[in-house]
């Protein structure tokens, strides 16, 4: 049996992706240029996480 994870451990990555996502959604509203780039990177995080999971965490 594997160990039971604590709440902070369970929600660490989801929280990071959540905060980055909200920040990205808001920052592109405040202007163009680099802010748009930041939003693209932020919203690419969920897609990247799934791509990573499909490569590294599949079993």
């Amino acid at each position: 049996m594997s160990r039971v994870r604590s709440l902070p451990a369970i929600f660490a990555w989801p929280a990071v992706i959540f905060v980055i996502g909200i920040a990205g959604l808001v920052i592109a509203l405040t202007g163009d240029g680099w802010r748009d780039g930041a939003a693209w990177a932020a919203l690419a995080a969920p897609v990247a996480a799934v791509a990573w999971a499909m490569r590294a965490r599949r079993r």
């Binding site: 959540f18 959604l25 405040t30 748009d36 969920p46 799934v50 599949r58 079993r59």
Partner: protein, 394 residues
Amino acid sequence: MSRAAIKEWVWVHKWSSLVCTAFLLMLCLTGLPLIFHDEIDRLTEDQPAFGMPGVGSSGTAKGLLTLDDMLAQALANRPGEVPLYMAFDNDQPSMTITTGPRPDAPGSQMTIQSFDRSTGKLIGAVNEDSVSGVDAVMHFLLELHTDMFLGLPGMLFLGAMGAAFVIALISGVVLYAPFMRKLDFGSLRTTRSRRTKWLDYHNLLGIVGLAWMLVVGLTGVINALAVPIEAAWKANELAAMTGEYAGREPLDQARYGSLDKAMAAARAQLPGTNPQFIAFPGGTFSSNHHYAVFFQGDTPLTERLLTPALVDAETGTFTAARPMPWYYQALSLSRPLHFGDYGGLPLKLLWAALTLFTIHVLGTGLYLWLAKRRSPALAQGPAPMPSRIAEPAE
């Protein structure tokens, strides 16, 4: 979390999801092409050659024709109609003039004419009877997405479905913890049962897409409340701004004064900003006696936040200007956050990817519910007993 508490959250998650899944799937499928509305328009429509390319019709550049001339032309094309809106562009000299049979005509009876303000040429005109081809398809999708052709009740109903979706998201996050107790983030147990595999995908796509789904869900709910929000502004703020006109007969179109004079009076009150649109007397966005000139803020952040300046439509004298109240500003900001049209094509592509994530989460959620119902042996399934479901990882 106690077993009883988990059971309750499972109940909330199951029912909030079941209530909205069919409608959310429709919203995702219709929303997907709507994300690229502008791009599709550009591909399927001829781009007009402007007389003064790059000069915004919202400005005061030399060479732009007067608003009175533009309006006279639009009304000459639609005899017997009254002006409803005049809208401007910050980047090109194009502008639109909306007319209808009555000041309070519904959208279905409006005709929108686009003009080049630098040459006075008519670019095109659309109303509900004239749309065809790709335009008609996009129009159909937009109506289905907004109100399912049911008007205000349809809008409010879809708003309620959005609220159920938000509840499903929140209960899903609560349940994420017991399901992931013994799993690393991102675990995808694809070699076990189909249910385990789709459960893991459901949890992963749901949790990583949470920020976007929550924002698009909540802003969708706010957009669905547009009609009551606009009505509240008109009943409270606008009524307060035009108090001295209360009780007067609505101003007849024959007595409308110069738009250019009114615009100059409005600009004098709000220097440095440009108008987004003018609402004519008697419609949703104005009193019965005023041209309401809606100005945009002058920074990227405030560009979406509007301040109406009300000018007496007969005399052209300024009456009042006041920023829109917080609930209307929330609606203004909810539009880009729902449409995803504020960060270039890459943002739209990500919007589409996350819409696909949502479709996947809705589909796997439905599958998990059906699979559990079909095989009672698995009824202990994802929900009630997390120690059984979250099969320990090797």
